[in-house]
Each structure stands twice: as C-alpha cells, then as structure tokens.
C-alpha cells in the first residue's frame, strides 16, 4: 500500500474504533496525524470515545515516530471545525487527507422515535460531516490538491428499518460527497464515501444493538448475534474487521486513487450486489 511520507492527515472521530485504526495506519505509513473527537457521550448514542481513548490513540501514533495533535471538538459546531483546520494549518502547514469519520448510531422505529434519536444522529452523521468538510475545502482548493473520505454506510444505499435516522444521514452523506466531487474535480481534489457493513467496533458490539438483532433473547452475547449479522450479506461474514475498513480508506487516500472521485465504495461482503446502483 502507498506510503504517506510527510503528509498531514486529519481524522474526525479518532479517539477509538475505525478512526483510531485509520490514524495509526496512516502514521505507520509516514504521516503526521491530527485527530479530533468529541470525547464525550451523547445520551442516545452507541458507546463513544473518551479523553482517555483520545490520549491512547495519540500514544499509539507517537509510538510510530510521527507527530500527533489531538483536538477535542464537536463536528456539529461548524466554527469549531474551522478552528480545527486553522490549528492544523498553523501547526503542520498543510492538510493532504481529511477523513470525515465521526458518526453515531441509535436504533428505534420511526413511529415512536424520540426527537434526540433523530436529530443527534442526523446532526452528527450528516451535518458534522458537512461542517468538517466545508471547513477544509477552501484550503484544499487553494492548495490545488487533497483527498477527502467520508464514512457513509451500506445502510446509505437502501432503507434501514429501525434505523431511519442513520439511513437518512448516510444517504445524505453520499449525496453530499457526490456533489462535492463535481465541485472539487477541477481543483485536483478527490472526495469519496466509504460504505461499509457493520465493522467490529463498539457501534456494533453493544447491548442495544445485540438486543435489536436478537429480540428473542434476554441477554444476547456476541456468539448469539453472529449468525444474524452474517445473514445480512452473501459472504456470510458477521462484521468487517477494522483493517478491512482501513485498507479502503488508505486506498481512497492514495496516489493510486487519483482519478477515483464521487464514488461510494461498498465494503459489504456482497450486500451491495442487491442494490440497483
């Protein structure tokens, strides 16, 4: 896989999970890293990162011999995202790759959904992604280069029962990404969406999600839900490992992907073969 020697990579939602995995992989390949995370729990959401998690990610990055700056910020705050970009430019001079990864999930049927479950999920997953990308776009246009990857979902390619908030937010991310691809193409900047199925993180492995997948059991375990998850895709894999998701992010961020823009890369064990487009 391509190296990222001397590049500056910014990743939102980097305290743990996929964001941490991406961050460490970029650092191992020569990049300096800025990680942003809200580092606090939104009440309705799947388990989120903490300041300790954020510090641990920094330790992992610095152990590779590369620099790391951490910023505690909420992607829903557009001004905070402009500050994130400004701080990064002040400290590192440039941004080569921006990974809009911060996202949350909260499940429930639409007809009884509490307002926070809708608005928190859409505000973080869609508006947060747009806020952060809008903040970095002027810099990349001026620079005449850049790679942006936004984390969408295979649920952004179809309807999501008990998951309308999440599905709508991820559909929105893909529409936003495709629109930005058109705008940024003349400036040498690419932007793509990554649309994975479940990834083996806290968003997947938690009691609420397990209970949704096995409502017949009082206290389902990982082994209890494995087959239910696996039933969602033709390859019958329950969930992606972190490295599966990270490999796609590295590729979309690489020189080799220079003419790939405006796509939604489905990493979903063939789930996507059920979709029209």
């Amino acid at each position: 896989m391509s190296n990222f020697d001397g590049q500056v990579i910014v990743i939102t939602g980097g305290a743990k999970g996929q964001g941490r995995s991406h961050a460490v992989a970029f650092a191992e390949r020569g990049a300096d890293i800025v990680i942003c995370d809200i580092a606090e729990q939104i009440p309705c959401a799947s388990p989120m990162g903490s300041l300790e998690d954020l510090a641990h990610t920094r330790d992992l990055i610095e152990a590779t011999g590369h620099r790391c700056m951490t910023v505690q910020a909420d992607t829903r705050d557009a001004a905070a995202m402009r500050d994130l970009v400004a701080k990064t430019i002040a400290e590192f001079g440039r941004i080569d790759v921006f990974i809009a990864n911060a996202g949350i999930a909260a499940f429930g049927p639409l007809s009884s959904m509490p307002d926070d479950m809708w608005f928190d999920v859409v505000d973080v997953n869609l508006t947060g992604v747009a806020n952060s990308i809008r903040a970095v776009v002027p810099h990349m246009i001026e620079q005449g280069s850049g790679r942006i990857v936004a984390t969408a979902s295979i649920v952004g390619r179809e309807g999501g029962p008990n998951n309308a908030n999440y599905a709508a937010s991820k559909w929105g991310v893909i529409g936003f990404v495709k629109s930005l691809a058109v705008e940024l193409a003349p400036h040498g900047v690419t932007i793509n969406a990554l649309s994975p199925m479940s990834v083996s993180t806290d968003m997947c492995h938690n009691d609420k999600t397990y209970t949704l997948f096995r409502p017949d059991l009082a206290d389902p375990t990982t082994d209890d839900v494995r087959d239910t998850f696996a039933g969602l895709n033709p390859m019958k894999v329950p969930w992606l490992e972190l490295e599966d998701s990270t490999a796609s992010v590295l590729f979309l961020s690489s020189d080799e992907a220079r003419y790939i823009t405006g796509t939604s890369l489905d990493v979903a064990g063939g789930w996507n073969a059920n979709h029209c487009a």
Binding site: W118, G175, F176
Partner: protein
C-alpha cells in the same frame, strides 16, 4: 354516494400537505381538492415562497370551508403532532401526507454559509422527519396511509453548487425507504417523486440562474431567466427547460391513488429525460 365517488380513491380522504406555499405544494393541494379530497396545509415557518398560506388556503376552500392551516418550524415535532391531532379531530380521519421542500439558494460548498447548510437540511429532511414522525402513529393505528415526498433531482445524483440541497434530498429518500420497510406489512405506502427544474419563481433569482448555467458549463453574455432556461434545455434530453408543478402533482396523486401498497419504497423521476442517465 355516486358512482364517481366510488371510483375515486381520493373522494372523502384527508391529506396534509407540507410545503403548501411552494408551487408544487399548491398544485398538489389543488389537484387533491379537485379529486374530492380535503386538505390541511402546512407552511414551514419563515419560508413563504411566492404564495402566502392564506392565498393557497383561499384557492382550495370547498363549500365555504377553509382548510386547516399552520406554520410550523422545521424541527418542531410536537407542533406537527399537535396539527395532526387537530386535523383528525376536525375531519375524523387522515389518509395522506405529502411533503414538499422549500427552495434553497444554490451555493458552492466553499462559499456556503452555515445558515445555508442548516436551512437546506431543515427545510427538507428535518421537516419531513417531523411530518413522518407525527402521522405514522396514526397510520399504524388505522392500518392504512399514503406518504409521498417530493424532492429535487439533486436527490438522484451529485449536484455541483447544491450540495446542501442534494444532501437533504438524498436524506429524504433514505428516510422514505426506511419508513416504507418499517410499514410494509400494513397498507401503508411511502414513495418519492423527484423533479428537475420546477417552473416557478426561483429562476428569477441570480443564484438559481448561475446554478443552471454552471451545470452545463454554458458561457453566457448576461445572466437572466432566459439564459437559465436555455441552459436547462441543453441539459435535459427532452430539450424542455422546466417541469410544470402540475406534472409533479399528477405523479404525487398517482402514488396516493394506488389501491394497496404494492408500490412502496419507489422513486419516480420527473426528469425531462435525465432519468435515462441514471445507473438504475
């Protein structure tokens, strides 16, 4: 009841139209009333676009009875739920929800103000959510309902210069398909109509003219409604620049009039041929 009423799926039905002051919202309300339905009209607060709520209400009043109307903020779920209760109290039933987004100013992402983004999402996706969330418990209780959401053709592709409009439209399609799946086992249908350039006031606005011209990389001497129409005509395989609001309303009524929910989770494009460029 006459034979005509028996054959008419809209006769006696009650519909809420969200975005009633838009050209499409007004056309939907008029066609529903002409077909024998009763309408209730919602304007997204602070977004009066061309028509006032009072003017639209006057045009669709039947036998001297004006429709129920309300201005509701796009994130005000309880306000919307209260309006649904009023509609059911007055008319004894609710059969249909139609959501129409309010027109947004096109602007490229690197020049977009935070307010452009927020209103772009709120006046399409957030408002649609509040409406769905408010009518679905009623539809679930009665076991029947029809929802149609209208969005721009930005919901079917990337839209340079309109990423906020595209994100809202794609989001509404994701919402509609999710609701269609959740409700599939009842006689509840949720569908989407997309439309390219609606023939309304927006084309007198320079930002929309610029958006139309830029979409085809068209060089123009002066930016005006004629330049926009010419560019839109070049973009569309049919060479026609605009889609009539009445054409969108006819498609909405087609979805509403289906006898069951065989047709649910669908997206129908009024695209002047742009749909032929879609992958699927």
């Amino acid at each position: 009841m006459t034979d005509i009423e028996l054959d008419n799926p809209h006769a006696g039905s009650v519909a809420i139209v969200l975005g009633a002051t838009t050209a499409v919202g007004k056309a939907v309300a008029q066609q529903l009333v002409q077909a024998g339905a009763t309408v209730a009209l919602v304007e997204i607060a602070g977004t009066s676009t061309g028509h006032t709520l009072e003017a639209v209400a006057r045009e669709v009043e039947t036998a001297g009875h004006g429709p129920l109307t309300a201005e509701i903020a796009p994130r005000d779920t309880s306000g919307f739920a209260g309006f649904v209760r009023r509609v059911v109290e007055r008319h004894g039933r609710l059969d249909v929800l139609v959501t129409v987004p309010v027109v947004q100013r096109p602007v490229v992402a690197d020049e977009m103000a935070d307010g452009d983004w927020n209103s772009g999402i709120d006046r399409s996706l957030s408002a649609a959510y509040c409406a769905y969330r408010s009518v679905l418990p009623h539809f679930e209780a009665t076991g029947r309902g029809r929802i149609v959401s209208v969005v721009g053709d930005e919901g079917r592709r990337g839209a340079g210069g309109a990423s906020h409009i595209a994100a809202g439209a794609w989001g509404v399609i994701g919402l509609a398909k999710s609701a269609a799946l959740e409700m599939a086992e009842a006689d509840i249908a949720v569908n989407v109509v997309t439309s390219t350039a609606i023939d309304d006031d927006r084309w007198h606005d320079e930002a929309h003219q610029r958006y139309a011209v830029d979409a085809v990389g068209h060089e123009v001497d002066s930016l005006d409604v004629h330049a926009a129409a010419e560019a839109l005509g070049l973009r569309h395989p049919t060479n026609r620049p605009f889609v009539a609001p009445d054409a969108v309303a006819r498609a909405v009524l087609m979805f509403i009039s289906q006898p069951d929910n065989t047709m649910t989770g669908s997206v129908l494009d009024l695209s002047q041929g742009m749909a032929a460029l879609n992958t699927a």
